[in-house]
Symmetry: C2
Subunit: 275 residues, 2 copies
């Protein structure tokens, strides 16, 4: 695995073993798709990162500095996924934050995942996960480093033909996939689950909501999902992916899904959106 | 801060910035009190660590190797707190675990916290935290690295006269303190909250339960806690600490609390248990 990384602005591959990001997951991250030196959703990523910092009471990062480091890490890569990790830095043992916080900043450039052309054209298979997302309003929505639920969910299956797992909360509400948000067209209304009790407010989700101002945010039951005429996933890394099946129910990519895939191409994600 | 550390058995102060412990909090830890070269609760720590590894599907660590590294890290320290951190190691980007997992093992020796003699003699002040612990049975009980709730709870107060915060779940059930378990003597029965939906199954808690076979594990409401005749905290790092007050209600350390403090001294934690 070759990854180009900067730690606090310097080329490096390691962080302190006393970092609170490791000790407690005390921090945030963003996974950002770049096409060459362009990151079409950059400002949305910076907005969410800023909101996460406010929620966790972390110092606001310098977006201009992050962008310089993003360009440095992804230099010469025609396609890349940038992971920015911000933690509360090195700390003494114990949950109390140090009196003076010096955040740790990791900027790493990865090759993008390979997504089969068929996935964008015909859609992906989604399974129902057994794990239920716990409800924690104080952490919901932000992209923090406490991701064991997603790790446990992703460990539920190994079949490579299944692309994603559907996550529900303990009240049987559908929330999202393990690494993407979910939209369903039901009775002509585009709906995506609320993420104020659990789940992540995806950057691609925000772009879809902005593009479709008639879309609604609310509760989504599994029954309602199974009654939908179109279902798709939104991901800042993978774009707009039609859902081909959930728990045996088959869907066909519809006009709205195609329209949003076209919107993604128009944003500049030109090389990955088939269909 | 001077900390002696071993990373995968070698003296080192850093880990890979691609470690899944940092990326997702994908791992476990133990905080173990040593008196010289003796760790009275070592076997309980190893048992919980093993259970955590099974729950997270991590390879079981080699306890003999960990003990050798513990002695190396704490060499010449009359009192120490050892933190063992085990993660799923370096991984590609994404929640799926790598095909071959090579866990990362960090063994670090810290100076023990200073605990005023008065704390053991007269007890500590505990406040009610606003944050509610989320219920996730798949992660409850084990000491994993997803600790943002505890970080957020500890950030609720700065008054050094307050030693701890009381954590409840969303159903108003009392669960624990931020870094200790809690016991209450109610109508002559010793009770500690169940930790099968949230909370950590503390090693000191297990020692208390083993010492007091008549103790019960169950639900504890705030009203019941306020009606208790004795309340104390159990912590593998801090021992048995009487609770002096919760939310204005005052308690006096009672005979059972003193008996357990004596038990702690008998275990070999001789230098820290006043009263």
């Amino acid at each position: 695995m070759t990854v180009r990384m900067l730690v606090n602005g310097e080329p490096a591959e390691q962080i302190s073993a006393l970092d609170r990001g490791l000790a407690y997951g005390d921090g945030l991250f963003e996974s950002i798709r770049l096409v060459g030196a362009v990151a079409p959703l950059w400002s949305r990523h910076m907005q969410r990162l800023g909101e996460g910092c406010e929620r966790l009471r972390l110092p606001l990062p310098d977006a201009a500095q992050l962008w310089r480091e993003a360009l440095q890490a992804t230099h010469d890569m025609p396609q890349s996924v940038l992971r920015i990790t911000i933690t509360r830095g090195v700390g003494e043992r114990g949950y109390a934050a140090p009196a003076t916080v010096r955040p740790t900043r990791v900027v790493a450039a990865f090759a993008p995942p390979r997504i089969a052309e068929e996935a964008h054209e015909f859609g992906v298979r989604v399974r129902l996960c057994d794990i239920r997302l716990a409800e924690q309003p104080l952490l919901a929505g932000i992209k923090h480093l406490n991701r064991l639920e997603q790790v446990m969910a992703r460990a539920e299956w190994t079949d490579p033909a299944i692309a994603e797992g559907l996550l529900r909360d303990s009240h049987d509400r559908v929330i999202s996939a393990t690494m993407a948000n979910l939209f369903a067209l039901i009775d002509g209304v585009l709906l995506t689950p609320a993420v104020d009790r659990c789940g992540v407010a995806g950057v691609a989700r925000a772009e879809v909501l902005s593009t479709c101002p008639q879309a609604k945010v609310g509760e989504l039951s599994l029954d309602a999902l199974l009654s939908a005429t179109e279902v798709f996933l939104s991901s800042s890394v993978r774009g707009i992916l039609p859902v081909q099946s959930v728990a045996g129910r088959l869907y066909e990519p519809g006009a709205l899904t195609r329209q949003l895939q076209q919107h993604w191409r128009n944003l500049g994600f030109s090389m990955e959106q088939g269909g």
